[in-house]
């Protein structure tokens, strides 16, 4: 057990060191991810402003959602005021910072195609555990640089969080949903990468996944805006745990038994994708041809 922990720590440490080699590119890449946040905030501002100016259109209804606390001018979209929307959007960005896995699926498929995966097959190390530790290192490196700009953005936008800080129990549930979002995102994308054992190239599949995730995870808009039957559909999919669910937990849109059930379902999805990825890996390795000399 101690030896396994030491091995994990070394993989983590080396993964972190590797991430920090190209510091210029790394810092720039991390900071550039904040640009979309600014543009999205302005976009929602403009949308709400337009609604405000249209006579008789101070509320645009969607499929669900409760009434908001009133934002800029009091206009609402599906029950969301401007404040609600921006608070949601910023929280969904935090969710994405945990659940998005840049380069995981494409990198995994590339390793299969060019034969680099061989080194993991000959060494006494489990490839999936190795990749998980390495991804934790990627995330830690990212957070170490991103935490400051994230904090700044939240500080400047603190006025949009009209309800203030949630209770500690909600914060604990939020932390759990974020960590589980990371695990779900990892095993989901790993499964797509492992399809590389059959398809060799997974970029189109990955594009489809990204597209679905963009709309159905809550990255683009809060999912409770969706009308039925779409709302029912996204509740059946695991994608909502990647962005919407943690944000909804923080904003206390999911509470009580619904929150507990949501966390259990998220855990069940993780278990499903752990088993699915493991089966894919074992089968994939069996049919692997050891490409690339």
């Amino acid at each position: 057990m101690y030896e396994t922990a030491r091995c994990w720590w070394t993989i983590l440490r080396i993964g972190l060191e590797e991430r920090l080699v190209y510091r210029g590119d790394f810092a720039l890449g991390t900071l550039m991810r904040f640009l979309p946040i600014v543009t999205q905030v302005f976009l929602w501002w403009a949308i709400f402003d337009t609604i405000q100016q249209v006579p008789g259109a101070r509320s645009v209804s969607g499929g669900g959602g409760g009434g908001g606390a009133g934002g800029a001018g009091g206009a609402t979209i599906a029950g969301y005021t401007l404040s609600n929307m921006i608070a949601y959007y910023l929280l969904s960005m935090v969710s994405r910072a945990f659940s998005s896995m840049p380069g995981l699926a494409s990198g995994g498929a590339l390793q299969i195609r060019n034969g680099e995966i061989k080194k993991f097959l000959v060494q006494p190390v489990d490839l999936m555990s190795f990749m998980l530790a390495n991804r934790v290192a990627h995330k830690l490196a990212y957070y170490s640089v991103a935490i400051l700009p994230f904090a700044l953005v939240f500080f400047f936008c603190r006025g949009y969080f009209v309800d203030g800080w949630p209770a500690p129990s909600v914060l604990a549930a939020y932390a759990a949903s974020l960590l589980m979002g990371f695990l779900l995102g990892f095993f989901l994308e790993l499964s797509i990468g492992l399809i590389g054992f059959w398809f060799l190239e997974v970029s189109s599949l990955l594009f489809l996944y990204m597209l679905l995730t963009f709309f159905l995870s809550g990255h683009m808009f809060p999912l409770d805006m969706l009308p039925q039957p779409w709302r029912y559909l996204v509740d059946l999919l695991p994608l909502k745990y990647l962005a919407y669910f943690p944000a909804a937990v923080f904003l206390e849109k999911v509470t009580g038994p619904d929150l507990v059930r949501g966390l259990w379902i998220e855990a069940a999805w993780i278990a499903f994708f752990v088993v699915f990825a493991r089966i894919m890996y074992d089968r994939g390795v069996r049919r692997y041809s050891g490409f690339g000399g």
């Binding site: 091995c7 070394t10 080396i14 080699v21 061989k118 080194k119 097959l121 000959v122 060494q123 050891g290």
Partner: protein, 338 residues
């Protein structure tokens, strides 16, 4: 004691056969034609502990596929194998801790970090005790003379230096069996020589078992007591290096240094003239003819110096590769067939 045992080991691949042209590419989206490639067909082989065996064969002969099978990277389509009592493709950790695979064309170290970091990771992955790790690392860096380079990012090392680091990484856990797939490919003569010396010394010291594939005959001549020639997935020869020369080359190369001031002509009657730069001439003569031909030449000319040698190993091996394509050639030497 047999360390490696292969019985009827076979591996086939299904390979997509794409016709030329864009239209064929679109047709390939709907229906594809596959061809069954038999990379390894029914290979039987036993390797004893401490042997240094060369796997030779033309490109695509099945050498690397056999090494991949033995290191558990791929699973066979038939037959069986045991290495140190383990079935390789089960990839048990107890097996993976006892062997190493070094591929000359594949980098196993972390590209952007110093080799030291990859070594440290290997220490943890292979559960090497700290004192044993340091002792082995010092010994290996000393032997390969790369102590000052372990803190340099791998991407900034030369090809030869990188290969030395790959070898160190592979040896840190003191494997009992080592698979080397063209470890000296692309290296200059000096680097090749150093790696050969290292492998020879290390193998003799530790009595480890090594299977080597290489296209450099100097590697083979310097290191291997036993040579296995594989072609078209079959073992075509299994024996000593000297045996290959006996088996595949019935000729000798005779170099004659003629004394000055004499006409050198009509040498064709004695053998094939390989090179004529009077007063030095090289002839290829049938092995059994050598005494008779030399006597005739000495009788006719005044000779200052004579050298009788085996043809270059590369030539013999090339001939061997050509001959194994010709079953008739093999049928005439059934005793040599594995």
């Amino acid at each position: 004691m047999a360390i490696i045992e292969l019985q009827g080991l076979a591996k086939s691949y299904r390979v997509y056969q794409k016709q030329e042209g864009l239209l064929a590419s679109f047709r390939g989206l709907l229906r594809r034609q596959y061809q069954e490639i038999h990379a390894v067909r029914c290979v039987d082989l036993t390797v004893q502990q401490g042997e240094f065996v060369a796997f030779l064969g033309p490109n695509g002969a099945g050498k690397t596929t056999t090494l991949k099978l033995l290191s558990g990277v791929i699973s066979p389509s038939g037959g069986g194998a045991r290495v140190m009592g383990h079935v390789p493709w089960r990839r048990e950790n107890s097996y993976r801790r006892r062997f190493a695979l070094v591929m000359g064309q594949k980098n196993q170290l972390w590209w952007d970090l110093p080799a030291q970091e990859s070594f440290r990771l290997h220490q943890q992955i292979y559960r090497i005790a700290p004192e044993s790790f340091q002792r082995t690392l010092d010994e290996l860096t000393d032997l390969l003379n790369v102590g000052s380079l372990v803190r340099q990012p791998v991407r900034e090392l030369s090809l030869g230096e990188r290969m030395k680091m790959e070898l160190i990484a592979a040896m840190l856990h003191s494997p009992d069996v080592l698979f080397l797939d063209e470890p000296t490919i692309g290296l200059d003569v000096v680097a090749q020589h150093k790696i050969q010396q290292f492998l020879k010394f290390y193998q003799q010291q530790r009595k480890i078992t090594i299977l080597l594939t290489s296209h450099y005959m100097k590697d083979v001549a310097a290191l291997c007591q036993r040579v296995v020639i594989i072609a078209e997935g079959h073992i075509q020869y299994d024996g000593s290096l000297v045996g290959i020369i006996d088996r595949f080359s019935g000729e000798k190369v005779v170099t004659l240094q003629f004394a000055e001031d004499q006409a050198i002509d009509s040498l064709d009657q004695y053998g094939t003239v390989l090179d004529a730069q009077p007063p030095k001439v090289r002839l290829r003569i049938g092995r059994s003819e050598v005494p008779k031909v030399l006597a005739a030449i000495l009788n006719r000319f005044t000779i200052d110096d004579i050298a009788v040698e085996d043809p270059p190993l590369e030539d013999v091996i090339a001939k061997a590769f050509l001959q194994v394509d010709d079953p008739a050639g093999l049928e005439s030497h059934p005793d040599r067939l594995a």
